[in-house]
Symmetry: C2
Subunit: 266 residues, 2 copies
């Protein structure tokens, strides 16, 4: 259904804006993705927004037409509004802007099929939504099954994480769990748990990786808790040749994932 | 010299705040770095701020005492101000906050000694200051000589880039140049120019790297211009196993740099 909204105080506008905050996303079970490219990526992955918001009087675009048709075919809402109202939703002064509302995915561990991929990324207490989105994007690139978020991580459904994922939020499986849930789940099946460690001397290039390989990266400032590393099957270190003692968490995950990918495919 | 500032309208406060904007940084030739850790990293690299700003009544900290002594010994200014004034400078409500003003470095190509390191990172039209800072951090980690910024990149002296560099802004050499200046400079000495390409089929792990190796990564959305790639000695591709066609630029740089590092050291 296509309709037009003319006022800032319209409840749908308020609803869309509210999804920029985590508590509202959680309550509604919905999240916001912005930009024609991201929404087109979602559609290519078979995910269509429940609500599509765009500026009235927007220039026609074939990808937008296809998107609108897909939303309508799925009985979703297509909502037009003035540019300045849409800017309140997207936070951007861009008449080309479009935004979509999606239902959040089930993030339970039980849904993951570990045999679906040789590599899985696992992040513990990852606080930066940009890093989180980048890890999803890297996961897609290495053909990972998905990203498992341990303990208190940034919200993967935040606008920033969704944007940094460059569409991988729609292709990678996502699970959220406490360490106390994750470890028994992992040990209940096949799986090598590999820690990106700042302590251990084993070079990441000399290590032996086994599928399904779960690559665990720790918090941006603290790294992994020692007790977590102790539970891992393998602890590997990426060499540091300079003054700094660590890499950006998303970078460390990617360097490790590409090494494991190459070894597993060799 | 230690002094106390009590008003928001104090010229030094205005000066500090102004350094959040590029045009003022360029005019003054100064930049701002925030946080005790970053300032301590700078000092460990032999770089001491010209001005150190901190909250009056701040709890004592041995690292801060050492920093203050180093600034005073170098005839720098130590300035105390109320928490709420400092918050205007740092943009953060944090009484632990400290900020330092540094002179911008000379970023001419002529200053680089290419024989100083086997690896150099080169970024073209890199727009995100977080990516830029992350590349500096990665450069430090792989023992790169520095980062060369080609064409219109984000400002490496922005607060965001400095923060993301995690201190590497003080350890990595930095040069800024147009492509038309860079290429003749590069060809005027030893150096293998390697493009991170989205087009070429040569796997980055099968390639032969030679020191000094200049690893060139392109813009976040466009990648490298075809004409630039054509000028490179080698074009390599990082495999993409998923739906996405590219990695985050800083991630691509890191994956490539670690592979080149391993091959060059083998």
């Amino acid at each position: 259904m296509r309709r037009t909204i003319t006022g800032f105080s319209n409840p749908t506008v308020k609803f869309l804006r509210s999804l920029r905050e985590k508590k509202h996303r959680r309550r509604e079970g919905k999240f916001l993705a912005e930009g024609l490219r991201l929404l087109t990526d979602a559609r290519a992955s078979g995910v269509v927004p429940e609500i599509l918001a765009m500026a009235s009087g927007r220039p026609a675009h074939p990808l937008l037409d296809e998107l609108e048709a897909a939303v309508s075919a799925a009985n979703g809402d297509v909502i037009e509004m003035d540019e300045d109202i849409l800017a309140k939703v997207t936070g951007k002064e861009n008449p080309q802007a479009v935004a979509g509302v999606f239902a959040e995915f089930d993030t339970s561990l039980a849904r993951l099929d570990r045999s679906a991929s040789p590599i899985w990324l696992v992040a513990q207490a990852l606080r930066d939504p940009g890093n989180l989105g980048t890890m999803l994007r890297t996961g897609d690139a290495v053909g990972a099954g998905g990203l498992i978020l341990i303990d208190d991580c940034a919200d993967p459904f935040s606008v920033e994480a969704v944007r940094a994922s460059m569409g991988a939020i729609f292709t990678q499986h996502l699970a959220i769990a406490r360490w106390e849930e994750f470890l028994p789940w992992l040990r209940d099946g096949a799986g090598q748990l590999v820690a990106a460690s700042l302590r251990e001397p084993t070079d990441y290039r000399a290590a032996h990786y086994e599928a399904p390989c779960f690559l665990l990266v720790g918090n941006e400032s603290q790294g992994l808790p020692e007790a977590y590393e102790a539970e891992c099957d393998l602890r590997v270190t990426i060499p540091m040749r300079g003054r700094a003692d660590s890499l950006n968490a998303a970078v460390a995950g990617a360097v490790l994932a590409y090494e494991a990918l190459a070894k597993l495919e060799a």
